[in-house]
Symmetry: D2
Subunit: 136 residues, 4 copies
């Protein structure tokens, strides 16, 4: 799959002249939404099916700084799955070098309570398992 590309905006850089570290979490979200869209699970479909899938945890490793107008490409993959949770992994590259590695964990809520994705959303579950097996 084509990596998602985020071009760093002027207002995303801080006093040190580098992309503020909080923005990588937003880029992770952009890439995740783009990815789900490409695999046929766009936000509209999620909303139509009433799928609410909040972020329960995030991990970020900042390897190198990036700055204004840099193009950050994001490779996303499914890194783990259980009945109640799954995690995406993110590798961000800029000018050939890895600048960031991250992970986000998600659950599924129905009426505010966690539910088994496998039982409740078997199609999405199957798709994510396939992605994980393909290393994507």
């Amino acid at each position: 799959m084509e990596p998602y590309v985020h071009k760093v905006k002027y207002y995303e850089c801080d006093r040190m002249g580098v992309t503020h570290h909080s923005n990588y979490i937003r880029i992770m979200e952009e890439a995740r939404i783009d990815y789900l869209d490409k695999v046929g699970y766009g936000f509209e479909k999620m909303e139509a099916e009433g799928i609410v899938s909040p972020v329960t945890a995030v991990k970020c490793e900042y390897r190198k700084t990036t700055t204004f107008q840099d193009e950050i490409s994001v490779e996303l993959s499914v890194v783990s799955m259980s009945s109640l949770k799954f995690s995406f992994g993110y590798v961000m590259k800029c000018r050939g070098a890895v600048v960031f590695k991250g992970e986000s964990t998600h659950c599924f809520l129905v009426g505010g309570r966690p539910v088994s994705m496998e039982e409740r959303y078997p199609e999405l579950h199957r798709m994510l398992v396939e992605m994980m097996e393909k290393g994507q």
Copy 2:
């Protein structure tokens, strides 16, 4: 009324080391919500009464830069009112000097259509008229 105070955050400053100009619109919003809260029209009351009052226009004049950890104090006043619209004025000061002047215009929507504030929300209307007359 006590002016609202916003202390500039590290992540609000840009590559030039100054508060990014987009953040003043957010500070205007903070001050406006604080002001309405103090005059007895807090966000919860607005929501409970179903009042939807979007921003229809904004004007900003940037006089001086501010930076990380500066304390910006915001003086807010009602500067104009008509049956369908009203405007707040904002004067922001830092270390004794005016750093910013702004204005925001708002209307009232019911079911997506503009309505007369005077007819629909007479209490709020009266209060804003009083504020305008008092020059607050």
Copy 3:
């Protein structure tokens, strides 16, 4: 010139489900940087020539709301020029309708003091005059 396109991000939408009004100022900045880049006055060139051109004023008119994943196209033009200042105009459209109109005013600083663009940066001045005459 091709209009600049901004696709609304999830994190740019507020509790009402619409693009928060502060983000339009950021989209104006994105479009302005893109425009200057296309006409040969990219940010790097500006920085290399030591051009510091802060925003001194902004006007925003919010016509229609936009939301997550909307593609906003921005048409930019030079709307006024004097020896010390110039203004860009912005018309943003989404699905055929005008959603936003704005204006930003800029000056040129050298050592913190405003200077005449015509004298100091004649090439950039000529280019902006041409743009204004062409209605771009």
Copy 4:
């Protein structure tokens, strides 16, 4: 030490009506700066001593959602230290309940290269060791 308090802003909430998860990293930064200020290592002193201490990693655990006007109190402590790195831990509470747990890891750079904090900034090092021992 008094916990740092962040009151959630309207523009920090997303379409789901809750504080967008990216903002917690910003609140961590606010609390960290406030903490260092209180223990006598304010940003100005850091800058004056040429201390550059970037974030190298972040971990976030989202326990409960918060929303507009919630007051989030942040307890910060030093959770680990080595010669080249140290980590802060963050516990955020709202209305008595833990809503967020996080960790941030930092190094010290001189001329872009990591240096030993103990050798280079013995006063700051001693202070952080004390904080860690006191469980603060």
